[in-house]
Structures are given as C-alpha cells and as structure tokens.
Amino acid sequence: MYRQAKHDRRLIMEKDGSSDFDVPFSDDLQGLEDFAPAGMLRESLDLPSLPEREVVKHYVNLSQMNFSVDNGLYPLGSCTMKFNPKYADVLASLPTVAGLHPYQDEDSVQGALRLLHDLELALCEVSGMDAVTLQPAAGAHGEFTGMLLAKAYHAKSQEPRTQVVVPDSAHGTNPSSAAMAGFEVIEIPSGEDGCVDLEALRAAVGERTAALMITNPNTLGIFESQIREIAKVVHEAGALLYYDGANLNAVMGRTSPGAMDFDIVHFNLHKTFATPHGGGGPGAGPVGVRERLVPFLPVPRIVQREGRYRLDYDRPDSIGTVRSFYGNFAVLVRAYSYILRKGADGLQEASERAVLNSNYLKRRLAPSYPAKYKELRKHEFVVSCKRLKEERGVRALDVGKRLLDYGYHAPTIYFPALVEEALMIEPTETETRETLDQFAEAMLRIAGEDPELVRSAPHNASVRRVDEVFAAKEAILSYRAFKRRAAKSSPKG
C-alpha cells in the first residue's frame, strides 16, 4: 500500500553548517564602509548558514513529503488539477524568457510582445470575447479586475450601480472580489435543481445592480441551461454578466462565455491551460471583455502595427493597472505553448474527455456516493457523504483523509454548501480510465471500511491528522515568533 516519505522535520533554521556561496566582486568590498546613513545599518541578522549540499538535501526531502499531480490523481473539485506538460516548463525557463526586464525598450522584446499578443487573440477565440488583458496574477485578481471594469463602465455612463449579485454556491472569491472593488454583495439562493433560481435572480436584480457573477457549468458541475434567460434578466436590468472562468475546462469548443452572452470573463490559466499550480501559485487570471468594455481595460495594451509590437499607455478611460507590468509572463508562456500544442481540436478534446471522465467516475461512485440533482454533469460533480455519516459516522472529511492513505489527493470537501457532506470531484481529462477505475475502487472500499480506521485516517501520510484548531489558537507564523513564545513560556525566559 501507498506510503508517503518521512524525513527529518527540523526547520532549516535549526541546522548547522556554513554557506559555500560566493558573491562575485566581494573582494572589492575591502576598505569600503560608508554605505548608508547613520543608524540605518543593520546590527544583527539571524539567518542560518549552510552549504548548498544541506540546502538541497533539506528541500529535496521536504518535497518528498508533498503530494502533487506528478504523484497521482488530484481530483480537487474546482481546481482542475490536470497534468502539466514539461515542455512548457522548458520554454518558461529559456534565458530569452527568464532574462527579460519588464522595462526594456519595446525594440528589444519583440518576441515577448508578440507572444502576449498572440495569446490574447487565442484567449479571445476560446472565450468568445473581443479583447483580453493578461495582467491579473490569478483568478481572484481577474475577478477584482473585472469588477473594476464594471465599475468604470457604469461610472462612465454615470449610473450609480453599487451592487453585485452572486449565487450562494459561488466560490468565495466572487463576493470577496466584488466587495474589495467597493460593491455591496447580494447573495441569492440556488434553486431546487442546484441552478440559478430565476425568480430569486429577478428579485435581486435592479437598477442598482452592476453585475451578476456566475460560473457555468456551476459548482455542481451542472450546466445552467437557462443561461440565455439569466443573461436576458441581467442585461435588461442594465447590468453586466460576469463569467468566473474556473470551469472553462468543461466547454472549450462546445460553447463559450461569448456565445452565452457574458460581458466579462476571467480565465484561470493554471487550471484550463495546464500551467502548474506551484503549491498555491503563481497562476494567471487574464480577463476578457466585450467590445463596449475594451476602453476600460488596464494599460498598457499590447498593440501591433505593421508587424511591430508596442505597449500603448494612451487609453484615457483605462482603469490604470492592477499589478506591476504585464502579468505572470512565465506562466503566460506556458499557457501559450500549451495552446500551440493542443490546437483547436486538442483543446476541444480536452474538454470532451474531461466531461467524459467526470461522468464516468460519477457513475462508478454512485453505489456508495450519491449525487443529487440531474444526471449529466460537465467536468466535475459533487457527491454527498450524508448517508455514510448517518449510517457509519464517517464524514466527508474522513473519506478525504482516508483517500490520502491510498495515494490520492482528497477531493474538495464541504463545498458547495448546498450539498450536505459534499465531496467535489474533478478528475480532469489527463487521467486514464484505469486510474479512474482504481480510484473508484478505493472510494467504494472506504465506504465499507471500519469507520474507526477511516475516522483516524490518514495512517500513511507523513504525519497523522493535523490539529488545525491549535494552529489557529497559537498563530505562530515564524520561527522568530516560535522562539519568542518558547522564551516566554520557559521559566528562565
């Protein structure tokens, strides 16, 4: 059976040695002293000092205590943990990619600008939007950007629209991003079928509504088949329709936010376009918009004229910028390479296989893990452990933890809230049928295992179940804080 590695748990700060790093030109320092204003020079710097050998050992061993896509199935719903092809990493680390300074004169970065421009066009095609900005660093950042665009758009037409409507099943970033942009957030409940409740929507939307933020397929993996009506309600109220692109992997080539009449879209390139998640980032969250929102897009815009590419800052209606420079370039290079590799058919096939895998797995799990609502799902689905909890005292959390023992990552748990004891499962298109079958077997076996065994899982991870309450109570966020606390609580301290 699977077992995760376990290594020395000392912090790097707790190790002893001496660094073998040489700074070039350090000989020149001889005799130089007067570097900084009085009182600005540092007196102490408590960092460890270790040879490269120890540092490499430390982090290689730590890495073995970290589950990743390259280790196995990572069916984390909503996160699209597909395989990240390795050619993309190679290209992202070319000297001609990694060695560019963002303030270089345009003449010296024509290749980079062209790539960005081409990527914008490809994303326009996939989303059915008219223009794309690549600047946002992640999905939530894209949402925030989208909300700023909505605000600027309504401000331009002098409409005092202050509210953003969000379904209760939305990802937390949606309401949060809207709030950060200064909007009041109006949450509407989902309907009986897990979809947007048109009546509730109509009731919520009005002349103060700036936008409705939704994702389609929604968090249950269900395609909102009333999407046209939803769009009509929103647009008739003079509001904008915002597409949370986290679920774009379900529909490429089959439909698009543009075809569904969305006005603003964000992409998560780290999901749909296979760029690695990096343990939590970097990602990239480009935003696409319809024509009427183009003037508000962040500057600089990348423009092409006679085969030359330029950065255009001269956009009087632009919201300015949402981060420094042009986006997470190395991530964008990866996404671009992925699109080149896949091409039109490949992207569509990715979505098709993602949907097939999801429905197949849902069917395989059905005997022990029922999924409410309608049968057909898109790229993900949500099952409930309610029965398991009632009958055996095993919760969704426990099932998730027990899956770790089998060498799988856990699905997303307890989201969306409308499903009790939810497990949100997204297998992605890069998994083989064999993997899905094996995962389903493990899931079904768990449903029949000794409840105590499951509740006390994981047993094969590098640590046993982690005490999150203790962490929150103590809030020790650094070794410095830890030492301070230890000093305090020790009698000599």
Partner: protein, 440 residues
C-alpha cells in the same frame, strides 16, 4: 480517445455529443478557429525562435532595476523549485500530505520575519504593488481612518495599483514630495499632509530613486499613532536595519530579487509582514506551526476565518492562488546565501552601483548621481538628451540601458535610473560608459 467508446457505453451513451446535450443549442459553438495542434518538437522550435527576437540580460549588459533586479540565481534554487512535488501541487488544503510545501512556506515566513523584524508574515501576495494595496486596506482596518500617504517618488505602476485597491474601501491616497537635492522625502511636506485622519504612511527604503532615506528611522516617533508601512528591497535588508526595528507596523516589498528570474516582470512575489498583534487583520494565506494527532510537529494553513472561502465578502482579502512557489524560491535562495552571503550581497550591490555612479560621473554631459545621498544599487543620472533616445542607441550596441524616469515622476524629464548588481561586471560598465560617450 482510448476507451472512450466503452466509457460512453457504460453511461448508456453512444456519442460524445450526448455529453453536451445540456448545452442549449443557441449557445453552442462549432469548434475553435485556432490552428491545428503541433507536435512537442514543433512547439519548442516555434516558441524558441520567437523568443530569440528578444535581447536578454544573460547575454547583454542590463542596467535596469526600478523594482525588478538582475541578480544571480544559484542553480540549486532552480533544482528545488523544479521538484515535481512542489511545482505541480496546489495550495496545501490537505496538510497531512503537504508537509513539504507547508514547512517550506513556514520557513519562507520565518526568513521574511527575520529580515523585516516583524513576527507575522503571510505566504505571499501577487507582487509589491498589490501588497501595497492590501497594506493600505489593512491600515484602515487597524485604525479605521482613510487617508494614506505615499511618496511622490514611486513607480507609476505602484501608484496606479494602489489607487485601484484604495478605491473600493474609499481610501484617499495623498502624495508627499521629495527633496530635489537629496532625493529623500520632504519631511515638511509630509508633516503638512499627515492630518489627523491619516491612517498610514508609506515609505520606501531604498526609494524609487535608489536613495536610502535617512528619515525612515524617525518616522514612527514623528507620527506615533499613524500606521507605518515600509516598502523594502529584501536584498538591501542584508545590510540595512530591519523596518520592524524602527517601528514599522507593516512591511511590504518585492521578493523577486530573492532568487527569481526577472521573467519580463512575472511571476513576482509580494512580501507582506506585520506585527504579531495585527495578525488577524492581515490579508492572505498564512502557515502556522502546530502538531498532529500524535503530538508530532506539523504545519498547516491557519487563520482561515480571515479568508474569502469562509468570510466571503467580509474577508481581509480575496487572494486565493498566490505566489507560493516563488516563496519557496526565496526560502531556498536565502538558505543558500546564508547570513554572510546576504550581507555581502547587499554590500556588493552598493559597491557596484557606487562604482558605476562614479564612472558615469566622469562623463561631462551626465550628472551622476543626480541626487546627493546614499544609494543602494541604483541611482538617477541627468542625461544630456532624452533617455529613450539613449536606450535606442544602446540597444544597437547590445546594451540594455536604464529607466527613463519621467514616465513615473513627471518633473524628472531628462533623468535615467541606472542599476548595478553583483552581475554587472567591470566590462559591462566600461561598455556602457563607452557608449554613453557617443551621446551628445
């Protein structure tokens, strides 16, 4: 698609189309108008040759800084961040199988805590600009005031991002000016603007002009009940005082110099640290130390009740995906340099920049440095012709010139910001000076 037929038939379906029957006919599209896919070999060739159109700092002397720096990245950093287990994992939602990433991020937080002199550190913002935006909001949460003072001498991007982040909560951003002779902050002007409603004062050390501002250490005494936010270059902290030690409530900065390539400005790493007592007002993911069911040391994400997936519209920030891998790079980088390495690096940067300053100062037509102050690794020079023109000339000679400043600080029309690091060789400097000689 292998097994597709069998899988479909298990679902009682006969075609892939049926999987998309729930998509209303009117919104369906008929494929994508994109080129056909390429083989991996062709993709590599295509992108490589496209990128060959760029001049890059590996092959050409580069004098740009202004927030992003061409530092040496030890090869081992790349080895570490390329580890499959780090790069292809996601946010450590399952701490039991994610101790590797969690510990690495905790170490990152620990490093930044030590550098900044502040105990609480988050595990990254997108970049320094967005960190500044979040810092302004956090100041408001700390003291419920809405006036936030920032230096006039600051990058265009950082100002613009701050305004975008400040707009939602209704924070008023006010600029204070700098001393035209020293490039340091104008204390009189700052005093005049620090009216009672002032929530926070932001100061950069070194500032956008490369100047190590001698006022920084006194600001907390001068404005004791205003939140002090310091923007620091983390490499400079190898030699300069920790902001926490002179009263900073929050310290932000751009982490790219800590072992990340410049990558045309992304991904970056927004540093964010604050005093322990403010920790529950802090934005972003944080990793905490804890124990497992058997009492063994362990780490997990913590204080999540501040965050969007729980607090939703009331969260301290919307940030979800952040720059975790860059934080690991920073931890690996600092581990490799070690205490002496970072100290030496900071000083070598000052020495290299000083050398360049003096070399250019010998050219009659250039005023170098333009400001009379201590600099870290960059400095402004006054140029005899427009800096953009100089840069075009330099490109022809295979040199990546400095930053024209007027796009950021209007009145600095004929000024260029030049940077030198430990990668700037004597030969690089000579090539630049030779080329500048031709500028009249």
């Amino acid at each position: 698609m292998k097994h597709a037929a069998e899988m479909l038939s298990e679902l009682g379906l006969s075609s892939v189309d049926q999987l998309f029957e729930d998509v209303p006919r009117e919104v369906r599209t008929n494929g994508l108008r994109l080129p056909r896919g390429m083989s991996e070999a062709e993709v590599l060739r295509h992108v490589r040759s496209m990128m060959a159109q760029n001049l890059c700092a590996d092959d050409h002397p580069c004098f740009l800084g202004a927030g992003i720096y061409n530092h040496f990245v030890p090869s081992a950093v790349r080895t570490i961040v390329s580890r499959s287990e780090f790069i292809t994992s996601y946010t450590p939602y399952q701490p039991e199988v994610s101790q590797g990433m969690l510990q690495a991020l905790f170490e990152y937080q620990s490093y930044i805590a030590e550098l900044t002199g502040l105990d609480a550190v988050n595990s990254s913002n997108y970049d320094a600009s967005t960190a500044l935006g979040e810092a302004a909001s956090m100041c408001m949460r700390l003291n419920e005031r809405k006036r936030f003072l920032v230096p006039e001498a600051m990058s265009w991007e950082r100002k613009s991002v701050l305004r975008n982040y400040a707009a939602g909560p209704g924070i008023e951003v006010v600029e204070y000016s700098y001393d035209p002779y020293t490039g340091e902050l104008d204390l009189e002007d700052l005093r005049s603007k620090a009216t009672p409603g002032t929530s926070g004062i932001y100061v950069e050390v070194p500032n956008f002009l490369g100047v190590i501002d001698s006022h920084a250490p006194m600001l907390k005494q001068e404005f004791p009940d205003v939140a002090l936010v310091v923007g620091a270059n983390p490499v400079s902290l190898g030699a300069l005082k920790a902001p926490g030690d002179y009263g900073a409530d929050i310290c932000i900065g751009e982490g790219q110099p800590l072992g990340m390539p410049m990558s045309f400005g992304g991904p970056l790493l927004g540093l964010f640290a604050c005093r322990q007592e403010h920790v529950r007002k802090m934005p972003g993911r944080v990793i905490g130390m804890t124990r497992d069911a058997e009492g063994e040391k362990a780490y997990c994400m913590t204080l999540q009740t501040r965050e969007q997936h729980i607090r939703r519209s009331k969260a301290t920030s919307n940030i979800c995906t952040n720059e975790a891998l860059m934080a690991v790079a920073a931890a690996a980088y600092l581990s490799i340099l070690g205490k002496e390495g970072l100290e030496t690096l900071a000083k070598v940067n000052m020495a290299r920049a000083l050398k360049l300053q003096k070399l250019i100062g010998q050219l009659e037509e250039f005023d170098s440095p333009a400001f009379d102050a201590y600099h870290f690794n960059e400095f402004a020079v006054r140029t005899p012709v427009r800096p953009e023109k100089i840069n075009k000339l330099l490109i022809k000679k295979g040199i990546i010139g400095g930053l024209p400043l007027h796009g950021h600080i209007r009145q600095l029309e004929d000024h260029m910001l030049l940077c030198a690091t430990e990668l700037t060789s004597d030969e690089d400097m000579e090539r630049l000076v030779e080329a500048l000689r031709e500028v009249q």
